[in-house]
Symmetry: C2
Subunit: 490 residues, 2 copies
Amino acid sequence: MKTSGITRRGLIRGAAAGAAITALPKSTQAATLTADVIVVGAGLAGLTAARAIAAAGRSVLVLEARTRVGGRVLNHPLDLTRYTELGGMFTGPTQDRIQALAQAMGVDTFPTYNTGNNVFYGPRGREEYANNTPLGTAPVDPVVDPDIILAVSELDNMSTSVPVDAPWTASSADDWDRQTLDAWLRANTSGNSEFLAVTSAATEAIFGCEPRELSLLYTLFYIAASGNEQNVGTFERNFNTAGGAQESRFVGGAQTIALRVADQLGTRVSLNTPVTRIEQSFTRATVYSNGHRCYAQRVIVAIPPTLAGRIQYDPPLPPLRDQLTQRMPQGSLMKFEAIYDTPFWRSQGLSGQAVSENGPVKVTFDTSPADGSLGIMMGFIGGHEARYWENQPEADRRAAALGNLAAYFGNQALSPRDVVEFNWSAEVWNRGCPVAVLGPGTLTDFGAVLRTPVGRIHWAGTETSTFWNGYMDGAVRSGERAAQEALAAL
Amino acid sequence: MKTSGITRRGLIRGAAAGAAITALPKSTQAATLTADVIVVGAGLAGLTAARAIAAAGRSVLVLEARTRVGGRVLNHPLDLTRYTELGGMFTGPTQDRIQALAQAMGVDTFPTYNTGNNVFYGPRGREEYANNTPLGTAPVDPVVDPDIILAVSELDNMSTSVPVDAPWTASSADDWDRQTLDAWLRANTSGNSEFLAVTSAATEAIFGCEPRELSLLYTLFYIAASGNEQNVGTFERNFNTAGGAQESRFVGGAQTIALRVADQLGTRVSLNTPVTRIEQSFTRATVYSNGHRCYAQRVIVAIPPTLAGRIQYDPPLPPLRDQLTQRMPQGSLMKFEAIYDTPFWRSQGLSGQAVSENGPVKVTFDTSPADGSLGIMMGFIGGHEARYWENQPEADRRAAALGNLAAYFGNQALSPRDVVEFNWSAEVWNRGCPVAVLGPGTLTDFGAVLRTPVGRIHWAGTETSTFWNGYMDGAVRSGERAAQEALAAL
């Protein structure tokens, strides 16, 4: 947060750049830069927008608050060649745009490890189940299955009537946007406590929140958005590995995509340049950072809505837009990663995927390197669990999380060679993850202005995407859309 | 929002000061000021805190973003002697602290006009009812009464088990914080559409939102908070005139209280001084505004949580605190005031109070001057109505609102001599009114840090009050509490 000037500097390429890049040299002298378009935020949305604008032959400048690019996508180096991923990392069918961008950047994918049994952990202890049933990743268990099948099927069905570009126009929007997902689940299933615990595990990992915080309409929109122009969204595609959003991973880590786009943009990307103020006049927009001014015809704000609301605007944002940003809090999500010499669970016939009713870690994935040269067990701590455990002593949290892993995969899990924790809520330039959480009433009264430009300002970020909202694919789509808007206005 | 220095200047006393005070002279030179305590925000909470600190013989500096004091309390001059009030204006039984402060400032109260019949407007048209029934201000009507009586009685009853200092510890907190008020109303009354329309009218005026946006637990807390140390809160006290929060008004307008406190504080109050950043070190806090620095031992942040979240903090706020501010959006509230030569409804035996199922204006009060020398009809446009109507052309909105008044009080209402509108959501230093709206899950997971100091920073503002949260009385209580915290730490 210390002052530094807007400077021009290429980015270090590769995984190691995921860690803090050396802070840029301080400048005591005001610099002035001008571009056709200024992009605020060098996450996947902002970088994609900037790339499209540069490709159209227009000048663009990306202002990034951090000393790194990638936003919610972040590699963490473990040694000279190996890394773990602390943010978005998976991709799957219908996520065309992130995959096209990856391909353009020369980043391949490889399958998420998905061989062997999954584990379900509940009051009857540990159960193994085949992960290739019709339920996909969802637990196979006589107590929770009937409700899972019922709820997923019915939510999928309802979601087909929710237009992804205007969820509030669904014929049942009024009804669905005045109740929480929790209320709907209790009213439309057996409501047994085990099933409800599984739904918490799901929303904690998917949204970083509890079912009580989610508008049913927003949940249905999110499901509908888990597809593309050709394929209708399904909840299964959200939570599944095979055939779902966790099917594949990016070689070198997802941040490599961002790093390569930034590398191509070169000096157009300014790190350590937090934007504090955006002014608009009849002739241009002025963007302020650390006392420096940049001028542009159009501005693309590609940061989470809750942070976009913290920028000063002159003229001020319209009331509805400002109040929307007040109603799009980020979810609460930590990643807990235990590093082992080998992915020992594989030899026990386990996929490394677990769903549990007990926290802090309720959902896990095997996120080891593709060659299995190291074992990485990644667990989500989300929603209520994150809010509680982020304030407990590190040793207690670590013991509890490793205790979860041991319950799912055996006592070998208690002795990792290393542990990496990351709390996205503590990140000043995120303040939560993976996505905004919309409660009842927000889409109905405020949704219509989610993407509406405000004068010269266009809005990007995964929260503004009609498909794969909350995912890397949605970020890329939003950047493409915002770039088209800005280019059309130049 | 233009830059100006921290300057020392007394305040203009009296009603006319409610309008914009001349902007303070610009300064290009950094000023440095030091005080034992810096207070951010010169609303009633901040002014009360500063007054207590000054009374204890400590130095204090109040930094106010606007060119006026009073926050959500605002006089609007109509001519040299008469004014209308655009913000908080009423007081009633158990609101001891605002009344004690008013008394100390020499500000008397007078009764809100409450003689004659109230009007209820619904699908069967206009009905008059006596406003001194056991239901108080609530409509007397055979269709809606049974549900009103049932709901108010049951909500009151439930609220008695909600501790105002820790609502999340109520024995039913889990159950009540996972449902919306709307869901509870539908499940526990006949759910008839007329009754539900009345509940919207109520929450639009009281909270600036719809029942679907309110956590049931938060609603119950709000009811429990409508009392004091000796008197249990009741919902009736929220919505009633006689015996309730609308019983009395302050002579000269409620802002007079703030103006007089500010006048006593004199040069301790700096207007036009928006705080952008608060740093803490082992030895002190540094508060930034417009490039100027002020130093203090303790800081009291006395602004709405959603705006407090927009200040930069170094060290950053703890995750739970930051995420709390993301989950306390302000309600949406406009005031529509029609000014007539006389309060013509009085001669027709009407109190000027209406409750309607039709918007934009669903709740009205006679807010004429005490001597009745002018007729002022004040209507609330809140919640969904505000969000829709704030974006309609002024002429359409005015016609619709005057149409409401004509339906309630006759066609004479169509010809005001003047109309005053005020949208609190458009105010950059409020971004909504009258209070924060807490959805399901917020109190449970985040409530515990609502008042917890963060190092040298203490939190005030009506949203932090245990009694009369959301009211002027709560603001004063919060200022007194925060001042005690800060003084104890000096």
